[in-house]
């Protein structure tokens, strides 16, 4: 077969995607290698992040030139990232399922295009807009209404107790993320639901199913794979979201959240907030440690993705064995 320029072009382009991914990982790994050696495993379990004294002469610690007092531990940010994403998905997935089913089955046909357009529009709103809304509307609401309410009603459970002085923190960040995740997940599930054949639905009705039963028993099982895919998509957005979370997280460092209202930091937001000061570190160890955070964030994303895919495959196998 003759190699046409078209074919070569396509091979080049398709090879570029994994190529870029590998290049990014390689760059992060090579660039952060001194930090990986300097930090060791303490990086993942340490709670203290300290750039050290950038205004004093650097000192040699374990063979590495670092600012005096430098110490890099990111447990706080790992916990912040996973906790906000988990809470966001916990709320977003049921809501998205409901909205998607409503759009597919509960809405008169004439209204459907308009409503689904609104959902898709929500997905393209820049994150800084959600962040600003979080700062000006949600945070005061959490501080003055939600947090005191939780304290009064559910205060006997430690994570709901104590109230919140500022409204910035875990719950606010999670809710902002929820708002950003719902449109993506909804749109994906909705488009999958539209593919469900009429015969499946009619079969369910023929067996005497109500609309709700038809939706939950016939439609949802048919799009199970798409639902997991949609959740992965939403999780990806939640794990990596930077600006909106930075604005409402409260920017906690050096301590773990104790309640839903505690200030937190996520890995992505923390990299952004620290990068400029880190660049002033003449030894470069601070920037390399930030690159190491990026590497860890990437690895976490891959693990979460792989786990979700395994679950999907398990579901398919389960369905097949039942059939």
């Amino acid at each position: 077969m003759r190699a046409s320029p078209f074919r070569i072009g396509l091979i080049g382009l398709s090879g570029a995607v994994p190529g870029i991914l590998v290049a990014v990982v390689l760059f992060l790994a090579i660039f952060s290698w001194p930090a990986i050696q300097f930090n060791g495993l303490g990086f993942l379990v340490g709670k203290t992040w300290n750039l050290g004294n950038l205004y004093a002469n650097p000192v040699k610690v374990g063979g590495f030139l670092v600012p005096h007092g430098a110490q890099y531990g990111i447990l706080v940010f790992i916990v912040g990232t996973l906790a906000t994403s988990a809470i966001a998905l916990l709320i977003a997935v049921p809501v998205s399922l409901g909205v998607a089913i409503f759009l597919a089955e509960g809405v008169p046909g004439r209204l459907r295009p308009g409503l689904s357009l609104i959902v898709e529009l929500l997905a393209v709103v820049p994150s800084v807009v959600y962040g600003l809304w979080g700062v000006t509307v949600l945070a005061p609401l959490i501080a003055h209404v939600v947090a005191p309410g939780f304290n009064d009603v559910l205060g006997f459970i430690p994570i709901f107790a104590g109230g919140s002085a500022t409204g910035f923190g875990l719950l606010t960040s999670s809710l902002v993320l929820t708002l950003m995740v719902v449109p993506i997940v909804t749109a994906t599930i909705y488009s999958a639901l539209q593919q469900v054949g009429n015969s499946d639905k009619e079969a369910a009705y023929a067996l005497g199913a109500l609309k709700f039963e038809m939706a939950t028993r016939a439609m949802l099982p048919a799009v199970r794979g798409s639902i997991v895919g949609a959740v992965i998509l939403g999780l990806g957005r939640a794990l990596g979201e930077t600006m909106a979370v930075l604005m409402v997280s409260g920017g906690a460092i050096n301590y773990l959240p104790r309640t839903l209202m505690s200030p937190i930091s996520t890995m992505a937001a923390f990299i952004v907030s620290q990068l400029d000061s880190a660049e002033q570190d003449p030894t470069g160890m601070a920037v390399r440690s930030l690159a190491e955070i990026a590497l860890v964030l990437f690895i976490i994303t891959v693990i979460v993705n792989a786990a979700a895919r395994l679950i999907t495959r398990g579901l398919h196998v389960g369905l097949a064995s039942r059939g």
Partner: protein
């Protein structure tokens, strides 16, 4: 048939080639600023200097139509970093660069443009008009997590008569790299040995864990967070005095080196500047924090333009020199009509002369 196919492929490859050449042409054009009729400068950094640059730039560019200046309030850390990397021509910073940094980037100049101060503001309902008194050790206690309530004996002792209730203090700090963090923590370090030995100072520091204490982005973020959080405390650049008043925050009287409690006024800021100006070295990197003298306000600083003295070409260098020289000129950017609205003080004549010497050093690569 075969010939036809070959023709199509050939035509496509010609098309691809044309697109490629077009793209290269566009890229080539973009990398040659000499094509531009105007000179564009980017100023980025300190949110404290940002309001002043926004007063300066329209007036200056009206007089100099060949120059376009973009201003950004991104935090002093960004200002320093982007001046070094070359993204910005002028980095605005409330902090000067450290010795180890200067060793790494010896071509970077730290040029004072004006004298600024920082206020410590609080939101304690009922006391926001009262100018509560605070000292370095008390602030170090609050930000260090040792003083947690407004009725702590250390606060009550210096505010006799103020009936402060047992409300939890929410200390607010800057999340982004900030010259305000730099000068605030310098005050804590200079006045409180314990803080100097444990936390130290910098544009970003490792804040002691104070559960409930939060970070905010930029001076605007500090004003907003403090305004909507009762019983909070924050450190904010004096150029935000209008926003501070708008949020109805209280301004603290701070204890100076001589033990007196003072508010930031032209008199107290000027007294502090006069006490330390003679110590300013030729490269002008010096802390003005915690100056001696009975009237000296303890948190003042030079506002710096961070500039690489080796610019890509002489045209850009000349534009930067001209703008900065105008900025420190008492008849130009340092006139009262610019500095008073942001409550900055002009540089004393001696310091302005030092700044002009540094501005004259800005040239092109290879000089």
């Amino acid at each position: 048939m075969q010939t036809d196919g070959g023709m199509i492929v050939r035509r496509r490859s010609i098309l691809l080639g044309t697109i490629g050449a077009g793209a290269a042409g566009v890229l080539g054009l973009g990398s040659r600023p000499a094509f531009a009729a105007e000179i564009s400068l980017l100023e980025t950094g300190s949110t404290l200097l940002y309001p002043l640059f926004n007063l300066w730039v329209p007036v200056y560019t009206a007089k100099n139509p060949g120059v376009r200046i973009t201003t950004q309030g991104t935090g002093s850390g960004t200002g320093i970093a982007q001046a070094i990397s070359g993204v910005a021509q002028i980095g605005a910073s409330d902090a000067y660069m450290s010795d180890p940094q200067m060793k790494r980037d010896p071509d970077i100049l730290n040029i004072p443009l004006a004298i600024s101060a920082q206020t410590v503001n609080y939101n304690v309902p009922g006391f926001n008009d009262a100018n509560l008194k605070l000292s370095g050790p008390v602030l170090a206690g609050i930000y260090g997590g040792k003083i947690t309530h407004w009725n702590d004996p250390a606060i009550v002792k210096i505010n006799p008569g103020a009936k402060l209730a047992a409300h939890v203090i929410t200390p607010i700090h800057r999340t982004d790299g900030s010259g305000d963090t730099f000068i605030f923590t310098q005050y804590l370090a200079a006045s409180t040995p314990e803080w100097a030995n444990s936390v130290g100072y910098g544009t970003t520091i490792s804040w002691p864990p104070v559960p409930g204490g939060i970070g905010a982005i930029g001076n605007p973020g500090m004003v907003q967070a403090s305004g909507q959080t009762a019983y909070s405390i924050a450190y904010i650049g004096v150029s935000f005095h209008k926003e501070i008043a708008g949020a109805k925050l209280g301004t603290a009287m701070l204890q100076n080196r001589d033990g007196n409690f003072v508010l930031p006024t032209p008199k107290t800021v000027g007294a502090a500047a006069a006490a330390v100006e003679d110590k300013t070295p030729a490269d002008e990197r010096i802390s003005l924090i915690f100056a001696p003298g009975p009237d000296s306000y303890p948190i003042i600083n030079y506002e710096y333009a961070i500039v690489n003295r080796r610019q890509p070409n002489e045209k850009i260098a000349a534009a930067i020199r001209d703008f900065l020289a105008w900025a420190v000129d008492p008849d130009g950017g340092s006139a009262a009509k610019f500095l008073e609205p942001v409550q900055f003080l002009p540089l004393p004549p001696k310091i302005a002369a030092l700044s002009k010497q540094q501005i004259a050093k800005i040239g092109r690569t290879g000089t």
